[in-house]
């Protein structure tokens, strides 16, 4: 348990002016303020949308009216510029209020690819739950497949990373990956002022693991809760922890054998938890 946690100096936030992405921005700014990191806002002009709007039959169907609405290139261009401006203002406001260094980029292309590309320079990619692509992908699917560049990805499910006081839950396994995962979770819990709930496998090394983990986490002076579960019961323990926690943040390792891409997508899409994924 000696590997160090990723040093978070730069956080990239994917922005599309939706309430969820602006919620992700607030959380990212708060985290940046706590960690002394800089923040980069990225707005992607979706080429899929641009192509769509140029088609002669590009019309939209909404839920408020049976009328089909023509979506032209000019209208889409204006809408995108407006959204980018709105995102920039929100970033300036939030970061300015917290005294966090910030910058803003407008990219053009496929949203997933562009964010992946941009996040190569970042330590953490922060995303809202929905609205990240014109193409109707599930957020979970995007997270599982597309975001592989940043060492850390934070997918926010609500406006405030769960209700006030909701814990940070970390699902960990023994091994080298345990230390960085625990430290990432501790950093997040300390930055948010929350308790840390650790779910770890039951076994012969349980006491040793716990002792070493507590030594590792002692520098953050966190309120710690432990759940030990047999490997076969980890899914059940996870469900129990998530249910009992009433929202919050789940910190997981992307390489955790019990949380494959399919399960991770389901977690992102269906649980009430925001996710911090360590690559």
């Amino acid at each position: 348990m000696t590997s160090s946690a990723p040093n978070i100096r730069c956080i990239l936030v994917g922005l599309d002016a939706s309430p969820m992405s602006l919620g992700a921005l607030r959380s990212a700014v708060a985290l940046a303020a706590a960690l002394g990191a800089e923040i980069i806002g990225a707005f992607v002009e979706d080429t899929d949308l641009l192509s769509f709007s140029a088609l002669p039959f590009a019309t939209l169907t909404g839920s408020l009216s049976p009328r089909k609405v023509r979506m032209g290139q000019a209208e889409l261009g204006r809408a995108m510029r407006g959204q980018a401006s709105h995102c920039r203002e929100a970033l300036a406001r939030e970061a300015g209020a917290q005294g966090v260094a910030w910058s803003f980029r407008v990219l053009r292309g496929n949203v997933g690819k562009e964010l992946n590309e941009a996040s190569r320079d970042a330590d953490l990619l922060s995303l809202g739950r929905a609205g990240i692509s014109a193409r109707r992908h599930s957020c979970g699917g995007f997270t599982a497949h597309a975001s592989r560049s940043a060492p850390l990805v934070l997918i926010q499910k609500d406006a405030h990373l769960g209700s006030e006081g909701a814990p940070v839950v970390v699902l960990t396994l023994p091994g080298e990956r345990a230390s960085p995962l625990l430290q990432v979770a501790a950093v997040l819990a300390a930055a948010q002022g929350r308790a840390l709930k650790v779910i770890a496998p039951e076994g012969a090394h349980r006491s040793r693991f716990r002792r070493r983990a507590e030594e590792l986490l002692s520098r953050w002076a966190l309120e710690l809760h432990w759940i030990f579960s047999r490997p076969r019961g980890t899914s059940a323990a996870l469900v129990e922890a998530l249910t009992g926690a009433r929202g919050g943040v789940l910190v997981i390792d992307a390489d955790n054998p019990w949380v494959d891409d399919r399960r991770m997508a389901a977690l992102v899409d269906r649980s009430g938890f925001s996710l911090m994924i360590l690559r």
């Binding site: 309430p19 080429t47 192509s51 088609l55 193409r135 109707r136």
Partner: protein, 812 residues
């Protein structure tokens, strides 16, 4: 028979010391009951005893009588024997919030009910929170939300799947959803699309058109799904909250069995809590409350509070309230407002009780003058008494001064006994001007200002003094001081057979005497301290009197106090300045001449004479006519005037004085200027009683003393006023030494003899007065006037006939 001056013993009554068998007042007990106020106490007993409407009381009498204290003491004693009344409180009317409900609670339980409701609110807050944060609730809620989410997403995903089979992507934008052809996993660019064959393009567009129609079918159902999900969530919330709140509310309701309105309120409260379930839900992400629910007002649980109008839990007996600032709102209560977002708002918790609420079931004492001075208060009081209910209405709205939304709380039944305390003039004025007044205030408790000065009342009066001394924490009075106070009380009453029981004035004298005793470091207040206090009171108020006397001494204001003058006499008037009254001499003169029998009152001619004064002068005319005008017409013209009088003159106390001046002028008999006279007269020449006799005597006495006594000076007063004499000791001493005299006069004849030294004269056998008597000289003067008048009439008659004769001759 010659009139003799009064002996000194008649001028001031002494208090007999043997009636005061104590060393000082320290051990005297207060008199039982209200000393000298039995009539008022009887009225209070009847007024407080009859519970029917209209039997409210008006306690009347001059201020300083202890009306407030005595009324309060009596009413408090009565109230202690009566049960503590039921209590009232206001609660939310859930059906009509503008009309808060009034709940009646048994005596002493309002405070408990408020506490229990507060406790219930706390419990409900916790119970509801626990219920809504329970895993079970969250699970059921999420299941419903998920069900409709899946319905919506499932529909869209189905269309998406169909689209992807044709290599068409579903594109999502903030404005809606569209479809676009794909190529190599990307949306086809317009250029690539243009390169497609027309058939291919037509096929794609046709397919997109079909997909859009299918998507529309899905979208069309979205609002219905939203409505359904909201309905099911609302039902879930109501089910969960109804179950959570049922037991706590019913438990409280069981404690108030037998109070149907309380039961009904708690039932309505339960329904309201359930109906407004959304208000108790955790806030959603955008800060709004739960979807589609009618929200509780901004105060949340405040609406379930209880606003008590009274707190009688500590009370023994019925409440007794004295409202010393009876404004409209202090009387009937008011609905206050709070400012929020620059607007005024209110609710039932801002209903403030008035004095009527606090006194309901008991007694409310009010100062009559104050309530009449306050706008709308008197009318509001009458309205409440007529309607037998307290209705809180905004004065601003009644007068259309404000248009802010306010409340109309349910009226509360009123059962109160009002005790108005005021002056007599107010009572009589209200009786005269307000027809409703007598129906609402049927009992008048009239306070006496005096008690008889008898051997029985003296010890009780001493007890009254002792009580006042103890209450004000003063030095005790020795028995001579008590005697002095008793004598002074008779002087204040203006009657040697009465004692003033104006306790406030009496207490003032005792406090001031205590001050003087303190200056000399005495342990007891002595008679000299009482005298010093009286003298100091007089001195403080006598600046104007001294100025006036100075004017006389310096002969700016002409008053003779020696010598003799025909048709000139000294009258006496009383001036009241604040609490101080003093006598002032005035010169009255009379001139006579031949005339037609008119008696001219110059004061009246110039409109300086009041009606009573004019009446007195007319009585003189009647006297003259009756005594001297039986055989011949009165052919005189007399003019009477108050010399150097520049203000108004009223009252008839100078009518005898004016008659003396008239008789002097007619008889050509000089009047001794060392005398001053007071007294009214009737048509047969009897001298009648007047007011302020002591002040009048002392006023002339002081002037004579200033100029120096000559042994011939004195005052003539009506015989009927002798019983009122309580003169200053220096006046009594001067009379004893023969320096000054006071004559008690019964008739004008007695008076004129004293004033002129000439007999008045009685009619002889020939019905004539003796020639050398006053009446004889007057009769002779009037006879001469009559004959001259007849003589003067003859040439005039002759002159009237001449033209007639001339006409006749002319005609001839």
């Amino acid at each position: 028979m010659a009139v003799r001056s009064l002996s000194p013993s008649k001028l001031r009554r002494r208090c007999v010391l043997k009636l005061l068998p104590f060393r000082d007042t320290s051990k005297l007990e207060e008199p039982q009951g209200a000393f000298g106020q039995q009539r008022a106490l009887d009225a209070l007993q009847v007024g407080t005893g009859i519970r029917h409407s209209g039997y409210n009381l008006f306690v009347l009498g001059p201020s300083g009588m202890g009306r407030h204290r005595l009324s309060m003491r009596y009413v408090e004693a009565v109230a202690r024997q009566r049960p503590v009344p039921d209590e009232w409180c206001y609660v939310q009317n859930f059906d009509e919030p503008r009309t808060p409900r009034a709940l009646r609670l048994p005596a002493g339980t309002a405070k408990r009910f408020v506490a229990e409701m507060t406790q219930l609110i706390t419990e409900l807050r916790g119970t509801i929170t626990v219920a809504l944060e329970s895993d079970e609730y969250r699970g059921r809620r999420e299941a419903i939300e998920q069900e409709y989410k899946e319905l919506q997403e499932g529909g869209v995903e189905e269309v998406q799947e169909r689209a992807s089979k044709d290599d068409i992507a579903l594109i999502q934008t903030p404005s809606g959803v569209g479809f676009a052809p794909m190529k190599d996993g990307e949306v086809m660019s317009p250029e690539e699309y243009e390169k497609l064959s027309a058939t291919r393009q037509k096929k794609i567009e046709g397919r997109v058109d079909v997909l859009q129609t299918q998507l529309q079918e899905v979208m069309r159902q979205v609002p219905r799904w939203v409505r359904e999900s909201h309905k099911r969530l609302k039902e879930l919330n109501e089910e969960v909250i109804a179950y959570a709140v049922e037991e706590p509310i019913e438990e409280l309701a069981r404690r108030y069995e037998g109070l149907p309105r309380v039961q009904a309120y708690l039932e309505a409260m339960k329904t309201d809590v359930v109906t407004h379930a959304a208000a108790f839900l955790p806030q959603t992400e955008d800060g709004s409350e739960g979807p589609g629910e009618e929200s509780v007002d901004a105060h949340g649980f405040e609406r379930y509070k209880v606003n008590p109008m009274t707190n009688l839990s500590e009370l023994e007996g019925a409440p007794v309230v004295y409202e010393d600032h009876p404004t409209y709102h202090n009387l009937v209560g008011q609905v206050e407002h709070r400012t929020k977002d620059n607007a005024l708002s209110t609710d039932f918790t801002l209903i403030k009780p008035g004095a009527l609420h606090r006194a309901n079931g008991g007694y409310l004492l009010l100062d009559a003058r104050r309530i009449l001075m306050e706008s709308f208060s008197y009318e509001a009081l009458k309205q409440a008494l007529h309607g037998r209910q307290i209705r809180i209405q905004s004065l601003g709205q009644q007068l259309s001064l404000i248009s802010t939304i306010t409340l109309e709380p349910e009226p509360i039944p009123l059962d109160v006994k009002i005790v108005l305390i005021g002056e007599r003039s107010l009572y009589y004025r209200l009786c005269q001007l307000d027809p409703e007044f007598r129906n609402l205030f049927k009992i008048a408790a009239d306070f006496e200002e005096t008690v008889d000065w008898t051997d029985e009342t003296v010890p009780r009066f001493a007890q009254l003094i002792g009580g006042l001394v103890r209450k004000s924490e003063l030095r005790p009075l020795d028995r001579r001081a008590v005697a002095q106070v008793i004598e002074h009380s008779a002087r204040v009453a203006g009657d040697s057979h009465k004692l003033s029981i104006r306790v406030e004035r009496l207490a003032d004298l005792l406090r001031e005497a205590d001050y003087w005793a303190g200056v000399e470091q005495k342990k007891r207040i002595g008679a000299d301290d009482i005298n010093k206090a009286i003298e100091a009171q007089i001195h403080r108020g006598s600046r104007v009197r001294e100025l006036m006397q100075e004017q006389v001494v310096r002969e700016t204001f002409l008053i003779d106090t020696s010598g003799e003058r025909v048709g000139q006499i000294n009258g006496l008037a009383v001036l009241q300045l604040g609490n101080y009254a003093f006598g002032r001499p005035s010169r009255i003169t009379c001139s006579v001449r031949l005339g037609k029998g008119e008696l001219v009152d110059i004061e009246r001619e110039v409109q300086l004479g009041g009606p009573l004064h004019s009446k007195g002068v007319m009585i003189l005319n009647g006297f003259l006519g009756a005594r001297f005008g039986q055989r011949r017409p009165l052919s005189l013209s007399a003019r009477l005037v108050f010399e150097q009088s520049y203000g108004g003159v009223d009252g008839d106390s100078a009518s005898s004085t004016e008659l003396y001046a008239l008789l002097s002028a007619l008889a050509d008999a000089p009047i001794k200027q060392g005398f001053a006279v007071t007294g009214s007269v009737n048509q047969v020449g009897e001298v009648q009683a007047i007011g302020g006799v002591n002040e009048k005597i002392e006023g002339f006495f002081d002037l004579c003393a200033e100029r120096g006594f000559d042994g011939e000076q004195g005052v003539l007063i009506p015989e009927a006023n002798v019983k009122h004499l309580m003169l200053r000791q220096d006046v009594v001493d001067a009379v004893r030494e023969g320096l000054f005299s006071v004559y008690a006069i019964a008739t004008i004849d007695q008076g004129i003899e004293v004033l002129t030294g000439v007999p008045a004269g009685r009619r002889g056998k020939q019905a004539h007065y003796p020639a050398d008597s006053i009446n004889g000289r007057v009769e002779e003067k009037l006879r001469v006037y009559a004959s001259r008048a007849r003589a003067s009439m003859r040439p005039a008659k002759a002159a009237q006939k001449k033209p007639h004769r001339g006409a006749e001759s002319g005609d001839v």
